[in-house]
């Protein structure tokens, strides 16, 4: 396909105030080599649908605002290429979230779920006003988890949430956040053992979340499996610890 030939895209539109059901509309957009899905959406908004709702800000994959589903897969629209061999490009809002309008969704449930865990870094050394000594071998694992940009793509991808298997599941993004704190070398309060309350066992380790993450975070290995192991070892060791500790609480 050459530049300026037309490519057809479909956008799933809905204003919940007015429409009961989402509508699918087709638009014809001039193709340019290298264009991103977001370029096509901007083109449609500027030329055909002034009030088409979508989010973007940075255009370089770091703010995490522009996630939407392209041909049923959640991606960052600013990063996802429109290739000429894509037969139909169908752009829809992320499926697990309530729609505010068109491609804009309400992601607040993700934050609500995690806030009850008080996801705070806690360290008693705070009072000393001295810098810490930490080595990169210690910080490495936490560091990679902490590159999460809150795009919510993994949350939308996970079948447990997507297929309504268990809406209470805290979701991969939140596990990444909590373990990102837990793995901080100076953190003294562990969130992992609490994660049973977030229904972590609903996750059957399909690794789809890891495959979807635009930051290439090893969500399953580095956070979910780690958390499950922590829960198990806590369970095994707790009775033994209690037995041997002097001040039994």
């Amino acid at each position: 396909m050459k530049d300026n030939e037309k490519i057809t895209i479909e956008i799933v539109l809905q204003n919940p105030e007015e429409d009961k059901e989402p509508q699918v509309e087709r638009f014809s957009v001039p193709f340019e080599k290298g264009m991103r899905v977001l370029d096509a959406v901007i083109y449609v908004q500027e030329n055909f649908r002034p009030d088409l709702a979508y989010r973007w800000n940075c255009g370089e994959g770091i703010c995490g605002s522009c996630a939407a589903e392209v041909n049923d897969r959640a991606v960052l629209m600013c990063k996802h290429e429109m290739t000429p061999d894509m037969k139909i490009v169908r752009i829809a809002p992320m499926n697990v979230f309530p729609v505010i309008k068109d491609l804009v969704v309400d992601i607040s449930e993700v934050y609500k779920k995690v806030l009850s865990f008080k996801p705070h870094f806690i360290s008693p050394q705070k009072a000393t006003r001295e810098f810490w000594t930490m080595h990169e071998e210690q910080t490495k694992e936490a560091a990679s988890l902490r590159t999460c940009i809150d795009c919510m793509i993994c949350y939308d991808t996970c079948h447990v949430l997507r297929n309504h298997e268990n809406k209470n599941f805290i979701g991969p993004r939140n596990i990444v956040k909590l373990i990102g704190i837990d793995k901080h070398p100076k953190n003294t309060f562990e969130h992992a053992p609490l994660l049973e309350k977030g229904d972590i066992w609903s996750c059957n380790v399909t690794r789809c979340c890891t495959a979807s993450c635009p930051q290439n975070i090893k969500i399953t290995e580095d956070s979910i499996i780690y958390a499950k192991e922590r829960i198990m070892s806590e369970k095994m060791w707790k009775p033994i610890k209690l037995l041997f500790s002097k001040d039994k609480k």
């Binding site: 204003n15 290298g34 088409l52 940075c58 255009g59 810098f131 590159t147 809150d150």
Partner: protein, 579 residues
């Protein structure tokens, strides 16, 4: 909308802007016992600050033990070409260390040295290595740290996707502000005792910019119309090479190391044009020479095809795949991810890109207090600390050091004051302005005006400037201002409506930039006048200040505040090894 269904929310302090500056101010003010609302145009954590890559400066001396705050201050003033407010620079350099400690104690994980201390990298213009960093995503980790601190403080309420469009004032002080909730399309009134502006810079008033979509200088618009002063608006930092295509990637930085590793610049005709500008150093000439050369090629019609007025080619393919992948992995990935260009086989399309706004709202050095009682300005929107040019890595320090100070000062003020009465006339007038464009049957489309403004700024008020170009730009801007705009469709989450509001801000911000650029008849720092190519210390150790009176925008010059003797001495003495 009638005034009856206008929701009014009351708080002690309203913070406009949820970037690093706004969040740090919120934390400080909350810790002083105040209730706070922090409003952002985008969602929490999606602002400009998350994009910061390189790092944050503090003279910890972890790598170069000779470093101290005085050398940091001296470097900052030298790079700022002595236009900085010396007291602000002193505060910045002195409090930087404490800011880093604070971040670390909140769990921010900086990269480490082999001994386990915070790693510090070299950055252009710094005498010593003092830039602390977290990979190439320093801003992201800092924002995540601040967001966690904000969320654990119950006194802070954050509001996502709310555009504050007008500050409400009484004859003596601020009373609150009007905001538009993008998600519902409804307006709010927020009643507050003090307001902190932390809206970030205005890089996006230029066609090509590293800044995110939302960064168009709202703070200037809000402050100016509330009666505060703007300063140093002519000082906008450009980078010689940014990406150009596709549109969403437009402006993303292309590092200088591409040229350093042997990349050559070609115009649209395939000529290696640097031979006409600097035949000896060619592509490795200084930043400003390269920027101007690229810009001249584009302006004179020898540019490439993309993006309205085009750019030039940057080509490194002759170095071979293995070399490029080894030396420039980040660029290989960036062009692949955002433009599907394989830079080992294809040329890159680049153009100069607007990066940072040194100017902005004028505030008190210690607190950020503006000339309007109860109104504070902090972060990239505040003027003064960077002078005529900003040192890399100083901005993140700036937003946190002064964010904390403004938060404390606003809290102290709010404690000893009461809520003012809301000025009903101002509210009615603002609501009319907000909803009017929906009632128009015809009018200009806001995004069309936005592009026109961006193009004219880029052409005439960008990388280099002339009397003639600036005057022409001013005229064009005045014509654009006369056009009425129309907004179509529903009020709920309507991006065109947001653009309409942005365009109104841009018209004011650009007017301020052009007026100041016309006034400064010399070249200094980021401000390059072709018709006045030299620096003129005899006449221009002055800040240009803009303010509003009955006859419109007025301009005055003020001598740069005197430096403390000690600082003046260090800035002259400081060695300059690592330029």
């Amino acid at each position: 909308m009638s005034r009856n269904d206008l929701e009014t929310i009351t708080t002690d302090i309203l913070i406009v802007g949820a970037g690093g500056a706004g969040l740090r101010a919120a934390i400080a003010a909350a810790d002083a016992g105040m209730t706070i609302i922090v409003a952002g145009k985008s969602m929490l954590g999606k602002c400009h600050t998350v994009m910061a890559e390189g790092g944050i400066n503090a003279s910890l001396g972890n790598i170069d033990p000779q470093d101290n705050w005085k050398v940091h201050a001296a470097d900052t003033i030298r790079e700022g070409q002595f236009l900085n407010d010396p007291r602000m620079v002193e505060i910045l350099a002195k409090e930087a260390t404490d800011i880093i400690w604070e971040l670390e104690s909140w769990g921010c994980l900086f990269d480490r040295t082999p001994e386990g201390k915070i790693m510090q990298r070299a950055f252009g213009g710094h005498t010593f290595r003092r830039t602390c960093h977290i990979g190439d995503h320093t801003g992201l980790e800092i924002m995540q740290t601040l967001m966690a601190e904000v969320r654990r403080r119950e006194r802070i309420t954050t509001m996502d996707e709310v555009i504050m469009t007008k500050l409400l004032t009484t004859a003596t002080a601020v009373a609150g502000a009007i905001g538009l909730n993008l998600r519902t399309g409804n307006a709010y009134v927020i009643k507050s005792k003090a307001i902190i502006l932390a809206t970030g810079g205005c890089g996006r008033v230029y066609r090509v910019s590293t800044n995110p979509l939302e960064t168009i200088g709202d703070g200037c618009f809000l402050a100016y119309h509330a009666g505060a002063e703007l300063m140093d608006m002519e000082m906008v930092q450009f980078h010689p090479t940014g990406m150009l295509h596709p549109k969403t990637a437009e402006g993303i930085l292309v590092t200088e190391s591409v040229r350093g590793e042997g990349g050559i610049l070609l115009n649209g005709l395939g000529e290696r044009f640097m031979k006409n500008y600097d035949p000896i150093r060619m592509e490795l000439s200084t930043r400003d020479v390269v920027s101007r050369a690229i810009f001249t090629e584009i302006r004179e019609g020898r540019g490439t095809a993309h993006n309205r007025q085009g750019g030039v080619w940057l080509d490194i393919t002759h170095k071979g795949k293995a070399f490029i992948e080894k030396k420039l992995p980040k660029m290989v990935k960036q062009f692949k991810d955002f433009a599907s260009v394989d830079i080992t086989k294809e040329k890159m399309e680049v153009a100069p890109t607007a990066h940072y706004t040194m100017g902005g709202v004028r505030g008190h050095a210690e607190t950020g207090a503006t000339s309007v009682t109860g109104l504070y300005a902090v972060g990239e929107i505040a003027a003064g600390v960077h002078g005529a040019n900003r040192l890399g890595g100083n901005s993140l320090t700036d937003i946190l050091v002064f964010g904390r100070r403004a938060g404390r000062a606003a809290a102290a003020y709010a404690k000893r004051t009461t809520h003012a009465h809301l000025p009903q006339k101002q509210i009615a007038k603002e609501l009319r302005r907000l909803f009017e464009p929906f009632t128009r049957k015809k009018g200009a489309r806001p995004h069309v005006l936005r592009e026109k403004i961006q193009d004219l700024m880029w052409k005439h008020a960008g990388i280099f400037r002339t009397q003639k170009g600036l005057t022409a730009a001013l005229k064009q801007l005045q014509q654009l201002r006369k056009q009425t705009m129309q907004v179509q469709g529903s009020r709920r989450y309507n991006p065109e409506w947001a653009t309409y509001l942005d365009v109104n801000c841009m018209l004011l911000t650009c007017n301020a930039i052009i007026r100041s650029a016309l006034e400064r008849r010399e070249s200094r720092g980021a401000h390059a006048r072709e018709d006045y190519p030299n620096k003129d210390d005899n006449h221009w150790l002055m800040n240009i200040i803009l303010f509003k009176d009955r006859n419109g925008m007025q301009l005055k010059r003020m001598p740069v505040p005197p430096s403390t003797l000690e600082l003046a001495r260090v800035s002259e003495e400081a060695p300059n090894e690592r330029q």
